[in-house]
C-alpha cells in the first residue's frame, strides 16, 4: 500500500474508525516510548503520601505504596499492548491455520484437531492458566504462551465453522473440480472470505486477552514485580476504589480506551470494504 492509499483509506473511515485509529496509534506510541518518557522509575517510592491526588510533580498521583502512577502506567501499557498483541497474533495464526487445515485436510486430521481443541477449550481458561502458571511459573514468555494457547481453540472453532460452511459452497467445489490443491483452496479461495467475521473475532479476542491478563493478576498470577501490566495496576490499587483514587481510575481508563479503540478500528476497517 502506498502512502497516498493509506491516507485515502484513513479518510474513508467513518468517524468511529478515526477515533479507534487515533486511540490505537496513541497506545502504540505509548507502548514504544513509555519506558523512556516516564518521569520516574516505575518501582521508586517517590511520594510520601499513598493514593495522593494529581499534583504538578505527580500528574496522576501516587499509588498504594507511594509510587508514581503516571510512570507505572506508561511502562504498564508496554506490557499490556505488547503481550496482548503478540498473544492474539499467535492465537489467531495458530487457530485459523489449524482450522483451514482441518477443513480441507483429510477426515482423520479434522477429527484429531477437533478433539485436541475440545480438550483444550473444555477446561475453563482461567483455571487452565492457573494450573499452568502454578506448574511452570509466570515469566513473560510463558504468560504470553499460556494466554495464546488459551485462545487458540476459540478461534479454531469459529474459523473452522466458517471454513466448513465455505467448503460446501459452489465456488469452492468448482475450484476443487478444477483440480486446485488443498493449500490453494484454503488460502486463496476460502481465507479471503473468512476475513471479515474473523476480524470481528480478533478484536474481541484482543479484548479478552487484555482482560484475561488482568483476571490473572486478580488471581495473583500476573507479571513478576516490579513489572505490572495495566490490569495488575488496577488490581493492586483496588483498595483505592472507595476513595476514587487516580491510581485505579487511570489504568482502568487506559484499559477501556485501548480495548474500545482496537474494536472501533477493526469494525470500521472491515465495514469499509462493503462492495
Amino acid at each position: 500500500m502506498t502512502g497516498g492509499n493509506l491516507i485515502r483509506a484513513v479518510r474513508a473511515l467513518p468517524w468511529s474508525g478515526k477515533i479507534g485509529l487515533a486511540l490505537v496509534a496513541f497506545w502504540i506510541v505509548i507502548a514504544l516510548t513509555g519506558r523512556f518518557i516516564a518521569p520516574h522509575s516505575p518501582g521508586a517510592f517517590v511520594s510520601y503520601e499513598v493514593f495522593a491526588g494529581s499534583s504538578g510533580k505527580f500528574w496522576f498521583g501516587s499509588d498504594f505504596l507511594g509510587r508514581d502512577v503516571l510512570s507505572r502506567l506508561l511502562v504498564g501499557a508496554q506490557f499490556t499492548v505488547g503481550l496482548s498483541a503478540i498473544a492474539v497474533t499467535i492465537a489467531v495464526t495458530l487457530g485459523t491455520g489449524l482450522a483451514l487445515t482441518a477443513a480441507v485436510g483429510p477426515r482423520w486430521l479434522d477429527e484429531l484437531l477437533s478433539r485436541a481443541m475440545d480438550t483444550l477449550i473444555s477446561i475453563p481458561s482461567k483455571i487452565f492458566a492457573l494450573v499452568l502458571v502454578a506448574a511452570f511459573g509466570s515469566s513473560i514468555v510463558l504468560l504470553t504462551l499460556i494466554v495464546s494457547i488459551t485462545y487458540v481453540p476459540g478461534n479454531f472453532r469459529i474459523a473452522r465453522s466458517l471454513a466448513v460452511g465455505l467448503t460446501k459452497l459452489d465456488y469452492v467445489e468448482v475450484a476443487r473440480a478444477r483440480g486446485e490443491g488443498r493449500f490453494h483452496i484454503a488460502l486463496v479461495e476460502m481465507l479471503p472470505n473468512m476475513i471479515r467475521p474473523l476480524f470481528a473475532d480478533i478484536g474481541l479476542r484482543f479484548v479478552f486477552i487484555v482482560l484475561l491478563l488482568s483476571g490473572l493478576s486478580f488471581l495473583g498470577l500476573g507479571l513478576q514485580p516490579p513489572d505490572a501490566d495495566l490490569g495488575s495496576l488496577v488490581r493492586e490499587n483496588v483498595s483505592g476504589l472507595g476513595e476514587g483514587a487516580l491510581a485505579i481510575l487511570m489504568p482502568a481508563t487506559a484499559i477501556a480506551s485501548l480495548t474500545v479503540g482496537v474494536n472501533l478500528l477493526i469494525d470500521a476497517a472491515t465495514q469499509g470494504k462493503v462492495k
Binding site: R115, I121, S122, P124, G165, G242, I255, Q271
Partner: protein
C-alpha cells in the same frame, strides 16, 4: 420443510449424536490425561498441602501412604480411570468425603447461576445482534457497537467491585455476597442473584451480540438476500425466515461457547460474591492438590462443553440444508 427429507434428517442427526458420544468419551479421556499429567508437575502434593508449614517428614510420609500417594503415578491414574468408568469419582484426598458428595453440593449452584445468566443474556444478545445487523452502519448500530464495546472494556473484577460498592455498600439495595437461604422466597432469590447474574450477563451479551451481528451481516451480503429483497420480501421476514436460519450455524456455536464459559468461567464472580460454585471448587482442588476432585471438576466442565457443542452442531445441521449430508 418437506415431508420427504424429514426421516433422513432424523437419521442423520441420530448417527451424528451416536458418533459424537463416542468422540466425547475420547475427549474426556484426553482431558483426564492432560489434567493428570500437568497436575503431576505442580509443586507439592496433597499430603504436604494438608499438613502445611510445620509438618515433619514422618507425618508427610504417613499421610502420603494413607492417601495412596506413595504409589507410582500411572498406577494411580489407572485406578482412578477404573473407578470412574464404574461411575465412582472416588474419595477426596483432602476433605475425607466422597467426591460425588462435594460435587453434588456445588453443581446445583453453578447450574442455577449459569442458567439465570443465560436466561438474561441470550434474548438481549439476539435483540442487539439483530437490531445492529439490520441497521448496519446507521446510528443505532454504532450506538450499540460502542455500548457493547464498553461493556467488555473493563476487567470483570472491577465491574463486579464497582457494582458491589454502588448497590450493596452505598445504596444497601442488594447483598454484597451471594447467600441463598434455604427455601427462599422469590424476592430473596432475586436479590441474592441479581448482581452476579448482571456481572456475568454483561460480558455474554456483548460478546454474543457481536457474534450474532457478524454472522447475520455475513449472510446479508449473500446474493440470495439481494434476490429476496428484489422479490419484495419485507425486512422482518427477510431476517427471520431467510437470514437467521442460514446464519444459525455460527450463532449457535458462539452460544455454545458463551454458555460453556458461563458454566466454567465464573471464577472471578464466584470469588467476589463468595458464591460456592464449581469453578472455585476446581481452583480449590488445584491449590490443595486434590487429584480426584480436580479430575471430577474437569470431567464435568468438559462434558458440559461437549454437550453444548453437540447441541449446537445438531441445531446447525437441522437448520442448514447444505450441511445435512454429513
Amino acid at each position: 420443510m418437506s415431508a420427504a427429507s424429514t426421516p433422513s434428517l432424523w437419521r442423520g442427526a441420530g448417527r451424528l449424536i451416536g458418533k459424537r458420544i463416542g468422540l466425547a468419551l475420547v475427549t474426556l479421556l484426553l482431558v483426564s490425561a492432560v489434567i493428570f499429567t500437568i497436575s503431576g508437575l505442580l509443586p507439592g502434593d496433597a499430603a504436604q498441602e494438608v499438613l502445611g508449614q510445620g509438618a515433619t517428614p514422618e507425618q508427610v510420609a504417613a499421610l502420603r501412604h494413607e492417601m495412596g500417594l506413595d504409589r507410582p503415578a500411572p498406577v494411580r491414574y489407572a485406578e482412578w480411570l477404573g473407578s470412574i468408568v464404574a461411575g465412582d469419582p472416588g474419595q477426596s484426598l483432602v476433605a475425607n468425603k466422597p467426591v460425588a458428595d462435594i460435587i453434588s453440593e456445588r453443581l446445583p449452584n453453578t447450574l442455577t447461576l449459569a442458567a439465570l445468566a443465560a436466561l438474561v443474556s441470550v434474548p438481549f444478545a439476539f435483540l442487539i445482534g439483530i437490531a445492529s445487523a439490520v441497521s448496519r452502519g446507521r446510528k443505532l448500530d454504532r450506538g450499540i457497537n460502542v455500548l457493547t464495546l464498553s461493556m467488555v472494556a473493563l476487567p470483570e473484577f472491577l465491574v463486579a467491585t464497582i457494582a458491589v460498592l454502588i448497590f450493596a455498600v452505598e445504596l444497601l439495595w442488594l447483598p454484597s455476597i451471594t447467600i441463598v437461604p434455604k427455601d427462599p422466597t422469590f424476592a430473596q432469590f432475586a436479590r441474592a442473584y441479581a448482581m452476579p447474574v448482571m456481572v456475568l450477563a454483561v460480558g455474554v451479551v456483548a460478546q454474543l451480540g457481536r457474534m450474532i451481528r457478524a454472522a447475520i451481516i455475513a449472510e446479508l451480503d449473500r446474493p440470495y438476500v439481494e434476490m429476496a429483497r428484489l422479490k419484495g420480501v419485507g425486512p422482518q421476514r427477510l431476517v427471520f425466515r431467510h437470514v437467521l436460519p442460514n446464519a444459525i450455524g455460527p450463532i449457535v456455536n458462539a452460544m455454545a461457547l458463551s454458555l460453556s464459559n458461563l458454566f466454567g468461567g465464573a471464577i472471578i464472580v464466584e470469588t467476589i460474591f463468595n458464591y460456592p460454585g464449581l469453578a472455585s471448587l476446581m481452583v480449590n482442588a488445584v491449590t490443595s492438590r486434590d487429584m480426584p476432585l480436580l479430575q471430577a471438576c474437569a470431567m464435568i466442565f468438559c462434558a458440559t462443553y461437549l454437550l453444548l457443542v453437540l447441541i449446537a452442531d445438531t441445531v446447525a445441521i437441522l437448520a442448514n440444508p447444505r450441511l445435512r449430508q454429513v
